[in-house]
């Protein structure tokens, strides 16, 4: 009782503060329910997996912006979550989700301590989010937003704890401005025995002038703290330097951006007698982008080369954990084998994502992404990317883009023959209602991508031929004001063979797992979306996930799901 009085008193005090705009409230609310049914060839032999699964959760985030003075701001978000099975409060989780303090020092230096959303460049610190990130239909957009929000991915950022500061110097004599940023974050907690504390430090310098010239340096250093684990002297060190140059030009009203990036990396496992001597790695990237005078047309050509030894923990950590357990039907067959991820889970299930930076090059699924599994920082790649895009003059009415990438390895894996990669993408978004004169909204989107991987060699020994094709089609039609019908169909096929590299703790390849691939996955969605406001929506969907594997045809299955999702940000 005493606690309740205190709590009410605290809320009243905060309300009083809120009236002075010293405190602002914000937050999010969500209700999700998934009622699924497992069917297909699998259940003829699988007598143990429950056919029906029902799960979900209700959660509420309450956030405070507290401004004790003009130069200081505190942000705190608490979360109350109750899983659907948490009857009578037994399953309630209550925790602090985010806390930081930020402000301005000497009217010049902005700083933040506590939780940080950190991002630098795609080669130093960047949450790449490569799988399935592009061309998703609107029917899936809320699911993706939730994953981004829950995991703090933001705009390709990684959530860390520490401190960061930023300031800009106006260098009048040379007519340039210099922006300086620094951050230090705790990356790993010691176990006091064998794992020392690990810190992540980063610095950025950006020199700009009025002639649209930019020179930037970004550097990160990941290092262990000696003596924080008393039974081990082992220390990990990863240093990355990144130097970039760019210049914007205008020629006959055409806009050009010329850019060049280059950098080096170094990795050491200090005091470890078993550690190999690892070579330093480097990368370079050159690009030329063009925009037509009316900005309807654009094109880009990019050359990228990332050496095999290039290691950047901040940029090569993967957010998707392909070994993670799915929220539903995590185990199948009478052997209770872990169910492999389908791309439906990649798009809708937050449980298969993780939030920590780690020094290992984690496994990836070649059918989902085989060319750039670690984003731009993928080691052992070089080649050319071409992109062209057109956009209607009336914004968002229609857009079409196409891409072509031709990459290859720099170093063979297990052979001197090199893999070569070819990727073709096509994307189109059209507001059909604008062209057929409908008053109500009717949008369609199409995205298609094919990745081909080839390696010459002896059949059964080192030859590779893998073709993976993704198709995503979506449409939404406004039935009544704020009420849309949303349909989507996504399809993934992957045929051929690959060799999956297995790495030791030093990221050296120690084995190859042969993988024959004949995968067909589809994801069909049909449902209603009621958009209360820009930040609040209710989705009721029927989802059908079909997974066929010709390698194990008896394990083909289909998950039919009723999904209800109410999501609100305020």
């Amino acid at each position: 009782m005493k606690f309740i009085y205190t709590y009410i008193l605290l809320l009243l005090s905060l309300s009083a503060l809120a009236q002075d705009k010293k405190v602002e409230f914000f937050g999010a609310g969500r209700f999700s329910l998934n009622n699924s049914n497992l069917t297909g060839k699998l259940i003829e032999s699988d007598t143990t997996t429950a056919r029906k699964q029902l799960n979900g959760a209700t959660l509420f985030d309450l956030g405070f912006h507290i401004r004790p003075n003009a130069e200081t701001e505190i942000k705190a978000i608490t979360r109350v979550q109750n899983d659907l099975n948490g009857f009578w409060g037994a399953g309630i989780n209550f925790y602090l989700r985010e806390l930081y303090l930020r402000g301005l020092l000497l009217n010049r230096i902005s700083y933040q301590v506590g939780d940080l959303n950190t991002r630098m460049t795609p080669y130093t610190l960047f949450n790449q989010q490569v799988e399935m990130a592009q061309g998703n239909p609107m029917a899936l957009e809320t699911f993706r937003e939730i994953i981004q929000y829950d995991r703090f991915y933001g705009e390709n950022s990684w959530r860390q704890q520490g401190a960061q500061a930023e300031m800009t110097l106006d260098l009048q004599p040379i007519k340039h401005s210099l922006q300086i940023k620094g951050l230090i974050a705790k990356n790993r907690q010691t176990d006091f025995f064998s794992k020392p504390d690990r810190l992540f430090a980063g610095a950025s310098l950006e020199l700009k002038n009025n002639y649209r010239f930019k020179l930037n340096y970004d550097g990160v250093r990941v290092f262990d703290i000696p003596k924080s684990a008393m039974f081990s002297d082992l220390a990990f060190l990863n240093i990355v330097h990144h130097l970039g140059l760019s210049k914007e030009l205008s020629l006959a009203k055409n806009n050009f951006l010329i850019s060049a990036q280059a950098g080096l990396s170094q990795v050491e496992y200090q005091n470890d007698p078993l550690a190999p001597k690892l070579e330093d790695g480097a990368f370079n990237e050159f690009s030329l982008a063009w925009k037509s005078p009316n900005k309807s047309w654009s094109a880009q050509v990019e050359w990228r080369s990332v050496e095999t030894g290039f290691r950047s923990m901040g940029a090569q950590s993967r957010s998707l954990n392909t070994n993670a357990l799915t929220s539903q039907y995590a185990y199948i067959t009478n052997r209770e084998s872990q169910r492999a991820l389908t791309f439906a889970e990649v798009l809708t299930d937050g449980a298969v994502y993780q939030s920590f930076l780690n020094p290992e090059l984690k496994r990836f699924h070649p059918a989902f992404e085989n060319i750039n599994p670690y984003g731009k920082a993928t080691p052992n790649r070089q080649g050319v990317n071409l992109k062209a895009a057109w956009e209607s003059k009336v914004k968002d009415n229609a857009s079409v883009s196409a891409g072509l990438a031709s990459m290859r390895e720099i170093t063979g894996q297990g052979t001197t023959n090199l893999r070569s990669f070819l990727e073709q993408t096509l994307q189109a978004n059209v507001k059909l209602s604008s062209y057929v004169g409908m008053k109500r909204k009717w949008n369609i989107s199409l995205w298609a991508r094919q990745q081909q991987t080839k390696r010459d060699g002896q059949e059964g020994i080192d030859a590779i031929k893998l073709t993976s094709t993704q198709l995503k089609f979506g449409t939404e039609v406004e039935l009544l004001p704020k009420l849309d019908i949303q349909l989507a169909w996504l399809n993934l096929t992957s045929e051929g063979n690959e060799f999956l590299a297995e790495r030791n703790s030093y990221n050296q390849v120690v084995f190859f797992q042969k993988q024959d691939c004949n995968l067909k996955q589809s994801f069909l969605i049909g449902g209603l979306n009621y958009q209360f406001s820009e930040q609040a929506s209710l989705k009721i969907q029927y989802q059908q996930i079909a997974n066929q594997q010709d390698i194990q045809p008896n394990n083909a299955y289909q998950i039919n799901r009723l999904a209800i999702l109410y999501n609100l940000f305020f």
């Binding site: 039974f231 140059l245 210049k247 480097a282 170093t411 052979t415």
Partner: protein, 342 residues
């Protein structure tokens, strides 16, 4: 513009001038090529004196890297040392046998031993010539003996599911004798496919184990990584048994273990072999018990070596099996820094 182009040129030189190595990882020909024996299995010498620190190296050469198992077998004793690995060249001391065992009993003086090399993916089996053991390896001592089961009158706390269990010391059980000395501990039980996975168990307090009046084991370290549990475990090769070795911690040190409030740390071993296998693991490898209400809540949330009040052994049935299953247990001990290597 001129400066910009110059800068880009310099960046290119900075980053693009180093050549990478030709290939990374093991050669795919070595992994997936045709399997052939290039050089047969052979021992580095015909006789060996383990007492004075001698050892025998076994060498062979294959055309590809593959998963192999090499067993050194005592012709008279039946003692076995087992090595497993993945390699194509057995050179440079890859297998250097120093007279230790993986399966009891011990190798004997003046006994001959031979090596047998088999492969997971190929039917071929290679044999070496025999090696005569002039002197066997002296048995090292353990740091703390939990029990060698030589005293049948010891007050073991036993419990079982159903009536068809055997749960006691034995001189001979189902035609099997001890791994060392004269007695061992046998656990046996019958189960149906839907019966409880638990068959029978035995709990031995640290006070009885030590016989010194101390309620807890007196270790020279508090570091779980540096303490190893060791035991000989007999498997009948039925692939039905699982042994759960559990350490009960009296977290509040009141002299009584309260299973609902105090932690039990367990290590589970599926017993899928035939013979007396020497099993070792560090205390750090144990996990908090997952049996609801039986040691799955640790009051202070950490492993405390100085509060282990009892060691418990549970015979469990592997899921999906039925019928009688059994295991033998002998010479349970703790060693510091490294496993027991007789």
């Amino acid at each position: 513009m001129k400066n910009l182009l110059m800068s880009i040129f310099l960046l290119g030189i900075l980053a693009g001038c180093k050549k990478d190595s030709v290939s990374e990882g093991p050669d795919l020909n070595d992994l997936f090529g045709e399997f052939k024996v290039i050089e047969p299995l052979r021992a580095s010498q015909k006789t060996v004196d383990f007492k004075s620190g001698g050892s025998v190296e076994f060498k062979a050469r294959l055309s590809i890297r593959t998963n192999w198992t090499l067993e050194v077998i005592g012709i008279n004793s039946g003692a076995r040392k087992v090595y497993t690995g993945n390699a194509k060249d057995f050179e440079n001391g890859l297998i250097n046998w120093d007279g230790t065992i993986s399966f009891a009993p011990f190798f004997r003086k003046n006994e001959s031993a031979y090596a047998r090399l088999s492969f997971e993916n190929y039917p071929d089996t290679l044999y070496s010539d025999t090696v005569q053991i002039l002197e066997s390896r002296p048995t090292p001592s353990v740091d703390i003996l939990i029990d060698d089961f030589e005293s049948p009158q010891r007050p073991y706390n036993t419990f079982q599911e159903g009536q068809q269990a055997y749960n006691s010391t034995a001189v001979n059980f189902q035609g099997v004798g001890p791994a060392e000395k004269t007695r061992f501990y046998a656990m046996s039980g019958n189960h149906g496919p839907t019966a409880s996975l638990f068959l029978c168990g035995m709990n031995l307090s640290s006070k009885i184990s030590q016989g010194t009046g101390n309620s807890y084991f007196q270790f020279a370290t508090d570091n779980p990584k540096k303490l190893f549990f060791n035991a000989f475990i007999y498997g009948w090769g039925d692939n039905k048994a699982e042994l759960s070795i559990e350490f009960q911690e009296d977290d509040n040190q009141d002299g009584t273990y309260q299973p609902a409030q105090e932690g039990t740390y367990t290590y589970k071993i599926p017993v899928n072999w035939t013979g007396w296998k020497l099993v070792s693991f560090s205390y750090d490898d144990t996990k908090i018990s997952t049996s609801g209400g039986f040691g799955n809540q640790d009051r202070n949330g950490k492993k405390d070596l100085d509060r282990i009040i009892a060691t418990q052994f549970l015979l469990l049935a592997q899921p999906g099996t039925s019928g009688i299953t059994r295991i033998g247990l002998d010479f349970c001990s703790f060693t510091y820094n490294q496993p027991f290597m007789p």
